[in-house]
Symmetry: C2
Subunit: 426 residues, 2 copies
């Protein structure tokens, strides 16, 4: 196949007619498929059904003998702090186990900084201007939180090593209104990028102008390898920050949402002891504690972090063929045409797809018109605005394989069609 750019106008016109017919044929199929959400499939959820019954009728004591049915224990039962701490390479003393949602922890963390400040700094609500750096493309729900608080979001481009660290350093080290940065350091949402060792170390070595600057290190996919035999690891951010003299500069987050059941899992935060002490003090005004029985349920089921990793290998066995099928189709149909680029992730839940500039919204709309819902174009950028209108997040985990093949086929047709239309306009 020839690259589309090399086709003559006549060739493009005839190709356009062909693609229109193809597209119309798709529309007649009356599809209703969804490739939008990073949800585990039913087959993945089935892997964990035994957790429902792992706690017997009288199994409610923690290893230190506490009756976990009653009030008490604000920061998580000791064995759950160990488990979730190990997920994040953190000590139990650096870890708090919360409820079911790491997103909620992140929202609350921003909210507390906004209202009460961080370790004695001025509450952000009292400042004229607060900014966050937002590596792009990124996770729409991160940007949603900062948007709610009126925090100005500055997009930071990413390459295969993570965010552009020259730019991050320039902002963080010189602008004291920059109070935070959203990071998904491993199998980034949606690119699948794994931050390089150098990137992590440059993060740890930042010299923030604002003493209440914090890295929001959302380690959502810490253990979520698609190819468990390929060794993917990143330095321990808590340790690196400590070594660099910035022990308090990072809040780390993780959850079991994509390990057990989304919504019925446990979520956790880790940070320096000084940060943890502040968070615990503030928590003490909010709740008497989180669901300790569910924490125990998770510990009983997995025993330790190795148990989690073993379990995630079974997830990977279900997810990998879906990623591979998607990538093979994109490769076969699009790689020669020079109208798109996409990532080949080793973990996480997404493939990030870049169409020609100005085409993403039209592609997603065409898919929608023919019955396939993709993540909204722009969602991966602050304020929902992708300045190049190019990025589309593909989520190939939830539908069964045959539906993914159908949806990706249609998607490819739409990419071709919209690209040809763009070339014809030029």
């Amino acid at each position: 196949m020839k690259a589309y750019q090399e086709l003559s106008r006549e060739e493009l016109i005839s190709l356009h007619e062909e693609l229109l017919k193809e597209y119309d044929a798709w529309k007649e199929k009356d599809l209703t498929l969804n490739m939008a959400r990073g949800k585990p499939s039913s087959a993945q959820l089935d892997l964990t059904n035994d957790i429902m019954t792992v706690l017997g009728h009288d199994d409610y004591y923690s290893e230190d003998g506490t009756d976990l049915r009653n009030y008490g224990i604000l920061d998580g039962i000791c064995e759950a702090k160990k488990l979730m701490g190990d997920v994040m390479d953190a000590k139990p003393s650096q870890t708090i186990v919360f409820g079911n949602s790491s997103l909620k922890i992140m929202f609350d963390t921003v909210s507390q900084a906004y209202t009460f400040g961080i370790l004695g700094s001025t509450p952000w609500c009292k400042l004229d201007k607060v900014k966050f750096l937002c590596p792009v493309p990124g996770y729409d729900r991160h940007f949603g939180i900062t948007a709610q608080f009126g925090i100005e979001m500055i997009p930071i481009p990413m390459d295969e090593n993570g965010p552009d660290m020259d730019l991050v350093e320039e902002y963080v080290n010189n602008d004291e209104t920059v109070k935070g940065i959203w990071c998904v350091p491993k199998y980034s949402n949606p690119t699948g990028i794994v931050y390089s060792e150098e990137t992590v170390k440059r993060f740890a070595a930042l010299k923030p102008a604002a003493k209440d600057f914090r890295i929001f290190w959302d380690n959502a996919y810490a253990l979520h390898h698609l190819y468990p035999d390929i060794d993917v690891d990143i330095p321990n951010i808590l340790e690196e920050c400590e070594k660099a003299g910035n022990p308090d500069m990072v809040y780390q987050f993780a959850s079991t949402s994509k390990i057990t059941f989304p919504g019925a899992g446990i979520a956790a935060m880790s940070a320096s002891e000084a940060n943890i002490e502040e968070v615990k003090y503030r928590l003490s005004w909010q709740t008497i504690g989180y669901d300790k029985i569910n924490e125990l349920r998770h510990v009983r089921y997995f025993k330790n972090v190795e148990g989690l990793s073993t379990h995630l290998k079974k997830h990977a066995d279900i997810m990998r063929p879906k990623f591979q099928a998607t990538l093979e189709m994109l490769d076969k149909e699009l790689s020669d045409l020079k109208i798109a680029r996409w990532t080949n992730p080793l973990g996480g839940y997404f493939i990030s797809f870049d169409a020609m500039e100005g085409c993403a919204k039209k592609i997603v709309a065409k898919c929608k018109e023919a019955g396939v819902t993709m993540t909204e174009a722009g969602a991966t950028f602050p304020y929902g605005v992708d300045p190049k209108d190019s990025n589309i997040r593909i989520a190939p985990t939830f539908p069964p394989l045959d539906e993914i093949v159908t949806a990706v086929s249609l998607f490819i047709t739409c990419v071709k069609l919209v690209s040809v239309e763009k070339l014809l306009e030029e």
Copy 2:
């Protein structure tokens, strides 16, 4: 027994010597007992152990067929909204089911009003002054929330019908800086007072100067009768507010913390559809949803609100003897002495005890010194300051009956001793 006020100085001195001996004998017993926290006892918790195993390995569909293991459903599964709505006399459309803690919902509700405002009003953080009315004695954790946000708390006296409504009306209807009031309308913490029909109706008929004034109606003990055969009911606050033309004036809260397991229960909020819509919109930025499996667990176990009530009768059977023993001892030992008053609650978790003015802190300290922890004196007032230093919250639910008898005996000795000392000082 003669009232202490009628004793001569000589009689008081000799009584004081006797009581000191009695107290010293207590100290030698090396007690470690706790009457401080409103916690259910182990025997109460045992009532619910079957909930641990009520969901089978493949029981995870809601009645509308949704797979509850996955992401989705922000406001609670339909059957849990029905169940918790019924607890609060609210329609499912007026109800959101959250995580495990109603305190956390209340904190977040104040926090959202502080940061974002209510239905278009100015966020409280942008105002110079925000005040809350605090019926006293009340729940320390309510006051803790408002204190955190720097909200000025105004104590409102209570009588057997609830808060002094003349005063409430004067403040709410004339002062637009008054933005809220904390209420526990049924079996109030700690007095056990049940708001009268007139009180509820006067609440509903308030004409707030501030259009973002809200009643925080913490219906924590809606079903928690100690004497289930005695009919205790209060008007439906949501309906009354609607009838009075104030549909949006109230947020209501409830949980199963003292029905199933504290910490592993479910909590809910109910309010007008307009309020609920706003809360849901804001929630949509915070989380993808709460623990739906735990919601289903509760629905399967109780089936409906009648199931909850039946279950609470078993709780009452365990709690009632403890309340009765405490009250009988107080009656027998103190009623003639005219040095104290206390409540005789028909439900809830507490007895409220008023010592002579200036004696509460000393009584609690004496108890502590002899090994019995009571709720800190003053805790039932805003800022921890009881202006009369008179109120003590007695929590007779957690310890076994024999320990309660011991603890209350010591408490009575301390009350007598401190009262005599006060009279001798005069």
